[in-house]
Amino acid sequence: MDKAGIDTYAHPSIKFKIDKFIIIVVTVCIAAALVFFMLFPIGTILKMSFVKEGGFTLENYLKYFQNPRISRSLYNSFYVSIITMVITTILAFFYAYALQRTTIRGKGFFYIIAFMPLIAPSIMQALALIFLFGRNGLITAHFLKISWSIYGATGIIASEVLYCFPHAVVILYTTLSAVDTRLDEAAQSLGASSLKVFWKVTVPAAKYGLVSAAALTFNLTITDFGNPVVIGGDYNVLATEIFSQVTNLYRFDLGATISVILLVPSVCAFLINYYISKRGFALISGAARPFLQPSRTFKKWGFTIYCGLIAFAIMLVFATVIMGSFVKVWPYDWTLTLKHFHFPSLGGYASIWTSFKVSMAVGLLGAFSTLIAGYIVEKKRPFGVEFLYLLSVMPAAIPGLVMGLGYILAFNEPYYFFYGTPWIIVICVVICNFTLGTLSSVANLKNIDPSVEEAAISLGADSVRTFIKVIFPLSMVAFVQNFIYFFMRAMTTISAVIFLVTATIHLAAIEIIQLDNDGWTASANAMTTCIIAIVVGMLLVLRLLAGTRGFAGFGGATSAPSG
């Protein structure tokens, strides 16, 4: 097809031919890993719930709905989740409003306090509430001397509100920072009263954030296991029912069936959140931060008291758990002691050490894999990238407990060499938290000027070296943030790993449940305290590292190194 004269084509050398394939190979590997470690276990659960003796059946579902005690768990789950959703969203909205739209003092303090629950397992709230309002609670039995106790739906709702609060605040805080305050001012200048402005302008403008926060809270509550198992008592929810069917009755088929039932609302909540956050992004623009009018004294005091009360509740939870692990007999004998730290359970300190090692592995593997996944999704966009993106965001829709059950059902075969090793725990936790890691990697990579990568390529760097020399150093901050996130999740998660611990592999978070179950409540608190200490320690270490030059040079144009 060439005219005479030009028939010589230059062909890429072998080295660069291989380079072209690297991205494809890596993409396929990540996609394959997600299919194998996410879709396959979930598929196994579906199969177990629908198939009996080789044929399709709804027998399991009939059994579920015919047994009134078991099927009540569905109603119970919805009941506590909806109430938690409403309370948390409202509380978090006004809290975020106070931080973003008023001129109260101590915003930094309130901000940090709001996020404290993230560093502890989702069992701490229940433990604290039992110490405060339980049968021997400090407030109920000791101060008020009444026989009422918090076990059951009330306890679950109270602890879940405390547990979900930071998650809802994150979303609403961002939403309220994006909504243009000039709208409020415009409405005010047109003569609308403050209250009217609030209802007619501020709230409608934040509606996406409100729906998103509500959906997330609902999802967190309905899939949580730690709090209901401790404080629920006889009040069974879907998550605890799965656990008792599998662990106590060895009814894997029913466990799988309830998992599928739990999967439905969880996926719905995820889809709502996914759809909303996509639309909501349009609102968050790079507009300059507007000036905030000083709030009136009345408003200022009102919001200060409001935030103070919530911050007090959160701190009270922490104080109770930490105090509870150091006093002899809560709430009767306040002598300080370390005896609760002599863990009477099988795991003991070994479990903390295992948890730490597992969490380090999860942190590194999670941060690396999500950075690479984000890099492919955001920068490389090979053929079929939409499929990889879909796989990457899917884990957020799957409750950890369901994933964990899927793992033992799918991988309990001798040829899956990783089964029964800590690695299966590492993989499960990474997969369960893959979505947020990938999304934050993508958000960070969006900030890297595409020309920088092209400059590296034009100077002769292949894909691998471009990634190592340029992309990775520029993503250092996001990498460390993702490491912390994965580390924290691994230290504190209960639901994802409860089915994966074995007679020889113990994890600190699971020990809490076992200690509590065996009546060693104070030691359960002590174990929680240990986890909190490790997470806080890791945060401090990384903060110190980030302060040194090692990380300072990587902030791009925003932070100039001093050297």
Partner: protein, 367 residues
């Protein structure tokens, strides 16, 4: 065979937008070529196809006698300068410059010598330990130049390299680039939307519009003999009249301008263009002997803008606004003021005439 670069029928289609439409261009070794055009004319897309970041939909990029369409960007012997500098923020100046050499596994000693040589070339030796964030925009772009030149590429591609800088530094860095090109004898392809920059810097200017080349030639040719009204308008400033042709005259409103050499034109409707510096401004009563009477008009000075060596006048000619540039010395001599009535003279040979329908034809979209 010399290291010439040739574009053959180069075409790039994005969805249903034809960004580059059958462009043919030959760039000789050591030549400084400017691709000039408004944003969206396809000039950057051409550059990206040469670099290998975009694959041509059709056509060929030929370098050194070989079609290089399939070559990865890493294998093309081209350096690139980006508008955003694109320095590696995690590396200091000398590490940035050394990057391309490291990728080519140049021995350490040679590498250090070459980096120092480059630092001297762009005059940043004292800044070698600094990070990009600590440098000014102009300095950053000089680092980018050194970085791109360090591996000794035979072609340097510059994508609006000075657009992000302020006017003074832009002019100074323009001179640095021109000097480097002449000293190193390197081929440069320079993309810009700034016509002044293109005229000042290039050996050859290629004017583009809507994915097509409208005209190519030396800066002087492009300025003096624009082949279309688009080029006349885009390159430099022009006054335009759209009138009717009657033999060798063009009727525009109440005036009839004598324009030699238009009898053979195909259309009746004609665009006339005239550069501001070609229009003569005279005080009423100045001698008009020997001037073509029909090309003599009257007007009133509306706005005076002092541009330094020249003074730009906006003159209303019966409601028609005419831009005239007068040399500062003449301006003083003639003692012109706002509101003054003046005589205007359009020398017949100063007019550039374009058939008005030709522009429609040129704007027609590709099949």
């Amino acid at each position: 065979m010399s290291k010439d670069l040739k574009l053959e029928n180069l075409t790039k289609v994005f969805g249903n937008l034809v960004a580059v439409n059958r462009v043919n261009l030959e760039i000789r070794e050591g030549e400084f070529v400017c691709l000039l055009g408004p944003s969206g004319c396809g000039k950057t897309t051409i550059l990206r196809m040469i670099t290998g970041f975009e694959t041509p939909t059709e056509g060929k990029v030929i370098y050194f006698g070989k079609v290089i369409n399939n070559l990865m960007p890493q294998q093309r012997d081209f350096g690139i300068i980006f508008q955003s500098y694109a320095l590696f923020p995690n590396m200091n100046v000398q590490e940035n410059i050394a990057f391309g050499l490291k990728m080519r596994r140049v021995p350490k000693k040679t590498l250090r010598e070459r980096v120092n040589e480059m630092l001297d070339l762009v005059g940043l030796y004292d800044w070698r330990e600094n990070y990009p964030a600590q440098l000014s925009g102009g300095q950053q772009q000089r680092v980018a130049l050194a970085r791109a030149l360090a591996p000794n590429p035979s072609v340097l591609l510059l994508d609006e390299p000075l657009s992000a800088l302020d006017a003074k530094i832009r002019v100074r860095l323009r001179a640095v680039i021109k000097r480097l090109q002449q000293e190193l004898g390197i081929t440069m392809i320079y993309v810009t939307h700034d016509q002044e920059e293109a005229l000042a810097i290039a050996d050859r200017v290629v004017v583009m519009e809507l994915g097509k080349i409208k005209q190519e030639g030396s800066p002087l040719e492009i300025y003096k003999f624009p082949k279309s009204s688009f080029v006349a308008d885009f390159v430099g400033t022009s006054n335009f009249f759209k009138g009717k042709r009657q033999r060798d005259k063009v009727q525009f409103k109440d005036w009839e301008f004598l324009v030699p050499g238009i009898e053979s034109m195909s259309t009746e409707e004609i665009y006339l263009a005239v550069r501001p510096e070609k229009v003569e401004v005279m005080r009423p009563g100045e001698t008009t002997e020997g001037l073509e009477r029909s090309n003599l008009t009257h007007g009133r000075i509306e706005v005076i803008t002092f541009l330094g060596a020249v003074v730009r006048l906006l003159i209303s000619m019966d409601g028609e606004e005419i831009i005239c540039d007068v040399v500062e010395k003449d301006f003083e001599l003639k003692n012109l003021n706002r509101g003054d009535s003046v005589d205007l003279y359009f020398p017949p040979e100063a007019f550039l005439a374009y058939p008005s329908s030709s522009t429609e034809e040129e704007h027609a979209s590709p099949e």
